[in-house]
C-alpha cells in the first residue's frame, strides 16, 4: 500500500464540510504556519521539500516562490490554477470535489508565505459544480475564522475568490490565465516579464497548480526534510495520477513515485491490468501533450532498465525514447486502438484550443489536423508523413507559449514510434478502414545493444 498524504481522508463522511475536516485534523498546518512560522521559513521548508510543480512542467515550487518580486507598496497575489483541461487529466477535479478544504488550507498557508491578501482560484467553466463546492467551503472557513481579517489572531488577512473561466484550454497557461483573470481575452503574454515580476494587474504573482498547493499542507505538518524523504531522487512526495483508457479500474491514484510503471498498470491496487484481457499497446503517461510511448519503451527504458513512475525515469532517454511525467494523466491504449486515429483526435483538440495569436500554432495545428484526417480516412500519401514531421518541427519551440510544443509533441512521438502504422494507413487504405493495425511488435522486448 502506497503512502497517502493528500487523499487519505477523501472518503470520510462529510469531509467536504468544515466540521468533519477540522475534526479529522484539518487546518493544523494553518495553525502551525501562522503561529510558529515566518513566511520566509515556510518558503524555506517548501524549498527543502523539493516539491515540484504538479501542473505539468515540474518546476520546483519553492524556487518559483523565491523568485517573486517584493517591491514596496505593491500587493502580491497567489493564483491557484484549477483550469485543468488537459485531456486525460482529472486529478484536480477529484481533489477539489472531495477535499475542498485541503486546497483552502494549502492556499491560506501559501498566501501567508507569499504575502498575498487576495488569492484567486481560477477554475474552468466546465467545473461549474466544483466552483459552488469551493465557494461553500470558503464561506465555512470564513465563518470559522480561517479566512478574512486577522486569521487566528495572527494579524494576517486573506480573502480567497473563485473565478470561473469560460472553458478554454489555453487559460491553463499561466499568463493566459492572468489575462483571463483580468477580464481580457485569454491570450498568453510574451515572457519576459514573468508573472513573478509582473502578473495580475502588473503585480507580482505566483501561479500554482491545485495539487502543488494542496501538497504544501503535508510539507508544513511533517517538515520539508521529512517530505523530501518520500519518493526518489528529485521526485519527492506523492503524486496524484489520473489513470484512464483501456484499464480495469480507471481513477485517481496517489502514488509515492517509487513504483514501476508495470506495477502501476497491472497491480490490482492501481489500474488493475488491461481491460477485457487485451494486451498493452501504448501509453501516454502524462496527459495528452506528452509524447506517446509504445509498450516496450514504456515498461523498460532504452537501456533496458525498469521504468518507474517518477519525473526522471519517465523522461529517461529524452524525447527519442522517453516521455514526461506531465500533469499525471495516464492514458492507456490496448491493442485495439489505432494510433493514427488517436493522434488525429489530439490534433483536433489542439487545433480547436489554439488561441490563434501566433502564426505557427494557429495555422500549423489546423494543417496537421487536416493531414491526419486524410491519413485516418485512407486518403493519405506517403509524403504526408514526412510533411507532418516537418510541420511539427517548425511549430515546436517557435511559439509564444507551450501550446505549440504540446501540439507538436504527440504528433512527433506518434510518427517516431509508430511510423509503420502510418505507412500501413497509406498503403492499405481500405484495410485500414476495416481493421486496426494491432499490436505489431510494439510490445516485443526491446533490443539493447551491448558495447564491444
Amino acid at each position: 500500500m502506497g503512502m497517502k498524504l493528500l487523499l487519505e481522508k477523501a472518503h470520510v463522511e462529510g469531509i467536504r464540510h468544515f466540521e468533519a475536516y477540522r475534526r479529522e485534523g484539518g487546518y493544523r498546518s494553518v495553525e502551525k504556519a501562522l503561529k510558529e512560522m515566518s513566511p520566509e521559513t515556510i518558503v524555506e521548508e517548501v524549498k527543502k521539500s523539493g516539491l515540484r510543480g504538479r501542473g505539468g512542467a515540474g518546476f520546483p515550487a519553492g524556487m518559483k516562490w523565491s523568485f517573486i518580486a517584493k517591491p514596496e507598496g505593491v500587493p502580491r497575489h497567489l493564483v491557484c490554477n484549477a483550469d485543468e483541461s488537459e485531456p486525460g487529466t482529472f486529478k484536480d477535479r477529484y481533489l477539489m470535489e472531495f477535499l475542498p478544504h485541503l486546497l483552502l488550507e494549502g492556499l491560506i498557508v501559501s498566501s501567508y508565505a507569499l504575502g498575498s491578501h487576495a488569492t484567486y482560484i481560477y477554475i474552468r467553466g466546465e467545473y461549474a459544480w466544483i466552483a459552488t463546492i469551493l465557494e461553500t467551503a470558503i464561506a465555512e472557513a470564513k465563518a470559522n475564522g480561517m479566512l478574512g481579517n486577522n486569521i487566528l489572531g495572527s494579524g494576517f488577512d486573506c480573502e480567497i475568490y473563485v473565478h470561473r473561466g469560460a472553458g478554454a484550454y489555453i487559460c491553463g497557461e499561466e499568463t493566459a490565465l492572468i489575462e483571463s483573470l483580468e477580464g481580457k481575452r485569454g491570450n498568453p503574454r510574451i515572457k519576459p516579464p514573468f508573472p513573478a515580476i509582473q502578473g495580475v494587474w502588473m503585480r507580482p504573482t505566483v501561479v500554482n497548480n491545485v495539487e502543488t498547493l494542496a501538497a504544501v499542507v503535508p510539507i508544513i505538518i511533517m517538515g520539508g526534510e521529512e517530505y523530501a524523504k518520500i519518493g526518489v531522487g528529485k521526485s519527492t512526495g506523492t503524486k496524484l495520477i489520473s489513470a484512464c483508457g483501456n484499464i480495469n479500474t480507471p481513477g485517481v491514484y496517489e502514488i509515492d513515485m517509487t513504483i514501476s510503471v508495470e506495477e502501476f498498470i497491472y497491480s490490482d491496487e492501481y489500474c488493475g491490468g488491461i481491460a477485457n484481457g487485451k494486451r498493452l499497446k501504448a501509453c501516454i503517461p502524462g496527459g495528452s501533450s506528452v509524447p506517446i510511448l509504445p509498450a516496450n519503451l514504456l515498461l523498460k527504458t532504452a537501456k533496458g532498465e525498469t521504468r518507474y513512475m517518477n519525473y526522471e525515469s519517465l523522461s529517461d532517454g529524452g524525447f527519442v525514447s522517453g516521455s514526461m511525467m506531465g500533469s499525471g494523466g495516464f492514458i492507456v491504449l490496448d491493442e485495439d486502438q489505432c494510433i493514427v486515429k488517436n493522434t488525429y483526435t489530439l490534433a483536433r483538440f489542439y487545433r480547436h484550443e489554439s488561441c490563434g495569436q501566433c502564426s505557427p500554432c494557429r495555422e500549423g495545428t489546423g494543417w496537421m489536423e487536416k493531414i491526419l484526417w486524410r491519413l485516418e480516412n485512407g486518403e493519405g500519401k506517403e509524403s504526408d508523413i514526412d510533411l507532418l514531421w516537418d510541420i511539427q518541427r517548425r511549430i515546436e519551440g517557435n511559439t509564444i507559449c507551450p501550446l505549440g510544443d504540446a501540439a507538436a509533441w504527440p504528433v512527433a512521438a506518434a510518427i517516431r514510434h509508430f511510423r509503420d502504422e502510418f505507412e500501413w494507413h497509406v498503403r492499405e487504405p481500405q484495410e485500414a478502414k476495416r481493421r486496426n493495425y494491432g499490436l505489431a511488435h510494439y510490445a516485443d522486448p526491446i533490443h539493447v545493444p551491448v558495447a564491444g
Partner: protein, 372 residues
C-alpha cells in the same frame, strides 16, 4: 538619453551601439538592409504590438557580456531587449532562415494567393516577405479559410480572408480611439477581426487601421479598385487640419488625387513628427480631401528603389532611395566574388547611368551615347 551608457550589440557580425531598452529588431533596423528581420505584426508606434507573427525570430548566440550563454530557443527580436555584449544571428543562422521559411509557409497556407486582384499588391508586406523568404510552391492541399467581406462603416472594408491576424488594427483602434469596439472573435484558425455585433466604426481616427494593415484585409473604400499603386505618384502634402497633424502623402495620377495616406517610413510604419508623436491622420484628411486644391504640395516622396511603386516613374518625378547594402559587412569585409562582370560584356548595362535620370521610355541610344 545621452547620459545613459550605450549597449554594444553585434548583429550578423555588424556591431552597433544602442541605448538600453532597445529591442533587437530596432537595433537591427539601425544597421538596416537585410540584417533587419522582417516584421509582420510588430509596429513600433503601437504599444504592446509584436511577438505574434514569428517572422522576426533570431538566434541569440551570446546572451550578454555578463552571461554569455546562448538562448536555447529562437527569440522574437521585436520583443526581446538587447543586453550589453549580446551577439545575434539573423541571416547568418541556418536555424533562423529555416524557421522563417516555415513561418512564411504557415502565413500563406490560408492566405489567398490572388495578388493580381488584390488592392494591396505592390505595397503588401506579406508579398515582400514571401518574395524574400518564401518557397516557390505550396505543400498545402486543402481548402483555404474564407470569409465574407464586411463594411466597417462608410469608409473601411474588412476582408478577413486576407487577414494574417497580426492584431495591429486592434492595437490601433484601442490606442487611437476612445471606445473599444474593434477586436478579435473566436480563437485559433477560426479567429476573426470583428467589431462589436457588426457595428460600424465611427471615430475620426479609425482610418489609420488601413495604414497599419500589412496585407489587403483592411482597405480604403474610397480608393478600392480605382487604381494600382504603382501607377500612382506619391507626393508629400500638408494642410491646416484642426484634428490631426495634416501631414500626408497624396497618391496622384495626373492632377487627380486618388487617395490620401499617412506618411510611411522605410519600414512601412507611419512616420514620427518632429515632436516625437506619430503622424496619424484623421478621417477628414484621408477620405474627404481629395482635391489638389485642398492641399499644399511639398514635392515628390522618396520611395525605395526596390519597391514596385518606384518603377513607373523614371522621369525623376519620384525620388528614389537606394536600400542599405550590408553584404560585405556581414561577411567580415569580404566582397561578393564576381564570376563575370556583366558590364564588361553588355552593351546596355551601364551602372553609371541612373534609370531614373532617363526621360521617357529608354532606348538603346540612352546607353550607347557617350560610350567609346
Amino acid at each position: 538619453m545621452s547620459e545613459q551608457p550605450l549597449l554594444t550589440v553585434t548583429i550578423d557580425n555588424i556591431t552597433v551601439q544602442v541605448p538600453a531598452g532597445t529591442s533587437i529588431l530596432q537595433a537591427a533596423r539601425k544597421v538596416g538592409g537585410d540584417v533587419a528581420p522582417p516584421a509582420m505584426c510588430y509596429y513600433s508606434k503601437l504599444e504592446g504590438s509584436g511577438g505574434k507573427c514569428r517572422t522576426c525570430l533570431v538566434e541569440v548566440s551570446k546572451g550578454s557580456e555578463k552571461d554569455p550563454r546562448p538562448m536555447p530557443k529562437l527569440v522574437a527580436s521585436c520583443r526581446t531587449n538587447v543586453m550589453d555584449g549580446m551577439e545575434v544571428k539573423n541571416i547568418t543562422s541556418p536555424r533562423v532562415t529555416d524557421a522563417r521559411a516555415g513561418v512564411v509557409e504557415f502565413l500563406l497556407i490560408n492566405h489567398p494567393l490572388d495578388c493580381p486582384i488584390c488592392d494591396q499588391a505592390g505595397e503588401c508586406h506579406l508579398q515582400d516577405l514571401s518574395y524574400e523568404h518564401g518557397k516557390e510552391g505550396t505543400r498545402y492541399e486543402f481548402q483555404r479559410r474564407t470569409f465574407k467581406q464586411h463594411d466597417l462603416g462608410p469608409y473601411i472594408q474588412l476582408h478577413m480572408t486576407r487577414c494574417i491576424l497580426c492584431y495591429r488594427c486592434v492595437y490601433t483602434a484601442d490606442q487611437l480611439t476612445d471606445k473599444r469596439e474593434h477586436g478579435i472573435l473566436d480563437r485559433g484558425d477560426h479567429a476573426e477581426i470583428a467589431t462589436l455585433i457588426e457595428k460600424s466604426l465611427e471615430n475620426n481616427f479609425i482610418g489609420n487601421v488601413i495604414d497599419v494593415c500589412p496585407v489587403g484585409a483592411l482597405t480604403d473604400k474610397t480608393f478600392r479598385f480605382k487604381n494600382r499603386v504603382w501607377f500612382l505618384k506619391p507626393e508629400n502634402a500638408h494642410r491646416e487640419c484642426p484634428d490631426c497633424c495634416g501631414k500626408v502623402t497624396l497618391w496622384n495620377r495626373g492632377e487627380e488625387v486618388f487617395r490620401v495616406t499617412a506618411r510611411k517610413d522605410e519600414w512601412g510604419e507611419v512616420e514620427s513628427l518632429a515632436d516625437g508623436s506619430t503622424a496619424w491622420i484623421c478621417n477628414t484628411c484621408r477620405f474627404e480631401k481629395k482635391k489638389s486644391s485642398d492641399w499644399v504640395i511639398e514635392g515628390p516622396r522618396k520611395i525605395s528603389r526596390h519597391s514596385v511603386i518606384s518603377q513607373g516613374h523614371y522621369e525623376g518625378k519620384v525620388g528614389t532611395t537606394i536600400p542599405t547594402e550590408t553584404f560585405s559587412a556581414v561577411h567580415g569585409g569580404r566582397k561578393p566574388k564576381l564570376l563575370m562582370d556583366i558590364h564588361s560584356v553588355s552593351e546596355v548595362n551601364r551602372p553609371e547611368i541612373q534609370l531614373s535620370q532617363i526621360a521617357g521610355p529608354s532606348t538603346g541610344n540612352d546607353f550607347t551615347t557617350g560610350k567609346d
